[in-house]
Symmetry: C2
C-alpha cells in the first residue's frame, strides 16, 4: 500500500454530487461535481449518471492519463438498497474503478466531515431534518430524517409548510394577520383581489392553485420568509416550533456521558442553532464546546473511504484532506 494508491470518495446529495480522489496519506488529487445523486429523490439511473459525471470530473482533475482508483465509497441518504450499488459499481468500473464500491450513510459522512473523532453527534436541518449518534466510528442511532410526510420536524419543508398554512388561515379568518401573507403572495406574484367566489376570497383560490401545482417538498422554498419576518409573531412561533422539533430530535439521539463533538449542517440549522430551546439542548449536549459546522459530506466520505481501505485517519490527515479540498475548490 503506497501513497500512490488512489481512493474515490463520493457525497451523493439531493441537489449536488461531489467526488474527491485522495491518496493513502490523505493528499487530495482531484475534485469534481455534478447534479443530484440521491437515488431516492433523483431515481436510480439519474443518480448513477450524476455519480459517474462527478467522478469523471474528479479523475480528469488529477491530471493523470487514464487514472484508476483502487476503491470507492458513496455516501447517500437511506442507502440500504442493493440496486444503486450494482448500477453505480458497473458504471464506475467502466471509468476506472478497480476495486470494491462501498455505500455509507450520508449522515455519517457529514459527521466525519467535521471531525476525525469516533464518538459524537450530528444534526442536520436543510430541506429535511435528521440527527445521529456516532459510536466507535459507526452510526449507532438515527432520529427523524423520515421525510416531509412522516417527519422532518423543524426542517425547511416543515417551516415552509407552516408559512403556507398560516397564510391560507389568515385569508379565511382562521388565523391571525401576519407579515408572511404579503410576503408569500408577493413571492408568488399573486394580487390581493378581494372578490369572493362561493364564499371564498379569490386570492385564496389563486394560492391553492399555485401551491397544489408544486411538488409538496417545494414548499421548503418558503422557509426563508419565516426568518425574514423577524418581529412577526406568527413567524416567531414557527421558528420557535422548529427549534423545539429539532431539540426533540437531538434529545432522542443524545446519551448522557457519551461525549464527543456535535457536528451541525444545513441552511435551516445555521439560522436556528441560537434559537431556544434548541440552543440550550445543543450547549448542554456539547458540554458547552463550540458546534462544528459542515457544508457537505465529501471530506467525511474520504475519511470513511480511507478507513474502509484499512487506513487510519488521524488529526493531521483529517486537516490535510480538509485544507486540500478547500484548495482544489478554490482552483476549480
Amino acid at each position: 500500500m503506497t501513497s500512490l494508491q488512489r481512493i474515490l470518495a463520493i457525497d451523493a446529495g439531493g441537489t449536488t454530487t461531489r467526488a474527491l480522489i485522495v491518496d493513502a496519506s490523505g493528499h487530495t488529487l482531484g475534485f469534481g461535481q455534478a447534479g443530484g445523486g440521491n437515488p431516492i429523490s433523483s431515481g436510480f439511473e439519474a443518480a448513477s449518471l450524476a455519480v459517474v459525471s462527478a467522478t469523471r470530473a474528479a479523475l480528469e482533475a488529477t491530471g493523470v492519463d487514464s487514472p484508476t482508483v483502487s476503491s470507492a465509497l458513496v455516501a447517500l441518504a437511506g442507502g440500504n438498497s442493493a440496486e444503486p450499488t450494482d448500477l453505480m459499481a458497473t458504471a464506475l468500473a467502466e471509468i476506472g474503478l478497480r476495486g470494491p464500491l462501498h455505500i455509507e450513510s450520508d449522515l455519517l459522512a457529514m459527521f466525519c466531515s467535521g471531525t476525525p473523532e469516533g464518538h459524537g453527534y450530528v444534526l442536520i436541518a436543510g430541506t429535511g431534518a435528521v440527527a445521529g449518534r456516532i459510536t466507535d466510528a459507526h452510526l449507532d442511532f438515527v432520529s427523524d430524517g423520515v421525510g416531509w410526510l412522516l417527519g422532518d420536524g423543524g426542517s425547511g419543508f416543515w417551516i415552509g409548510r407552516k408559512v403556507a398554512r398560516a397564510v391560507a388561515a389568515e385569508l379565511d379568518g382562521r388565523g391571525p394577520s401576519t407579515a408572511l401573507t404579503p410576503a408569500l403572495l408577493g413571492m408568488l406574484g399573486l394580487g390581493a383581489a378581494e372578490d369572493r367566489t362561493f364564499g371564498r376570497p379569490q386570492v385564496q383560490l389563486q394560492l391553492i392553485r399555485a401551491l397544489y401545482g408544486m411538488r409538496p417538498i417545494e414548499l421548503a422554498r418558503f422557509s426563508p420568509l419565516a426568518f425574514a419576518a423577524a418581529d412577526d409573531e406568527v413567524a416567531q412561533d414557527i421558528r420557535h416550533g422548529a427549534a423545539t422539533q429539532l431539540a426533540n430530535t437531538f434529545a432522542a439521539v443524545h446519551l448522557e456521558g457519551h461525549g464527543g463533538p456535535i457536528v451541525v449542517g444545513g441552511s435551516v440549522l445555521r439560522q436556528l442553532s441560537a434559537q431556544p430551546p434548541l440552543s440550550t439542548v445543543l450547549q448542554d449536549g456539547s458540554g458547552r464546546s463550540p458546534l462544528i459546522t459542515v457544508d457537505d459530506g465529501v471530506v467525511g466520505a474520504a475519511v470513511l473511504a480511507l478507513r474502509r481501505a484499512q487506513i487510519a485517519v488521524d488529526n493531521d490527515m483529517f486537516t490535510r484532506i480538509t485544507l486540500g479540498l478547500a484548495e482544489l475548490r478554490r482552483k476549480a
Copy 2:
C-alpha cells in the same frame, strides 16, 4: 310551470355522484348513483362521465319513455371553473337536458340538505374539513376546505397524518410509546423487526416505503385508529387537537346574532362533535338546539335547483323531497 316539469339535481362528490329528479312540487321522480364526480379529484372527463352516468340512472328510474328535464344543477367542490360546466352541459343535453345547467358549491348543498332555512351554518369533516356561513340562502363566508397540504385542520387526513407521524416518532425515540404503533403496523402488515440499518430500525424503513408509496391523501384511512385507541394518550391528544382545529374553523364563520341551525356532516365530525372544545363551540353557536346531521348534498342540490327555477321551497316541500328520496333509495 306545471307539476310535470322535471328538474335534475346532482351532488358530485369525491367518491360518489348522486342524481335526483324532482317535479315542481318537490315530488321525487327518480334517483341514480355513479362514481366520483368531482372535477378536482377525478379530472374533468371522469367527473363528466360520472355525472352523466348518475343522471342516466335517475332518468331511467322515472319510468318515463325518453324523459327530459327543464333545468339542472350540479353541486361540487371548488366549482368555479367554466370548463366542467361546458363539458357537463353538452353531455347532459345529449341525454335529455332542455334548459340551463347551474353550478353550486357542494357546501351550500350540504346545508340545504339539512334545512330549508336561509340562515345558518354548515360544518363538514370527512377526508377534508370546511365550514360555511349561509346568509339569505347564499354561501356568504367559507373557512378552511383548502386541502390536505394547506389546511383541512381536524379532517380525516389531518388525523391520519398525525397518527402516521406519531408512529414514525415512536420508532426512532422522538415520541412516546403509543397503541397507535402496533395498530398501524398491523394494518400495514409490517413486522416488528428490531434490526437496524444505518442506525435506523428496519420496521421504520418499511413504514417509510409503505407510506411514501401511497398518495398523501390516503393517510386519511388511518384516522379510525385514533378513535379506536380510546384510552391512549397520544390518540387522545390527536382527537383533542382535531376538535380544536374544527372549533377554530367554525369560529371563523360564526357571527354573533346571525342565527339559524348548524348542519353537520362527515364521518370524522360524527365522532368529534361531542369532543371539547368543538362541542362547546357548536352548542353555543346553535343556541343549544340540536345539530342537524346530513349524509350528502343531494336533497340540497334539489332545493337549490328548484330555487333556480323560481320555485320557493317551504318546510312541506323540503320534507316531501327528503322522505321521497329516502323512499327511492330504499327501493333501489
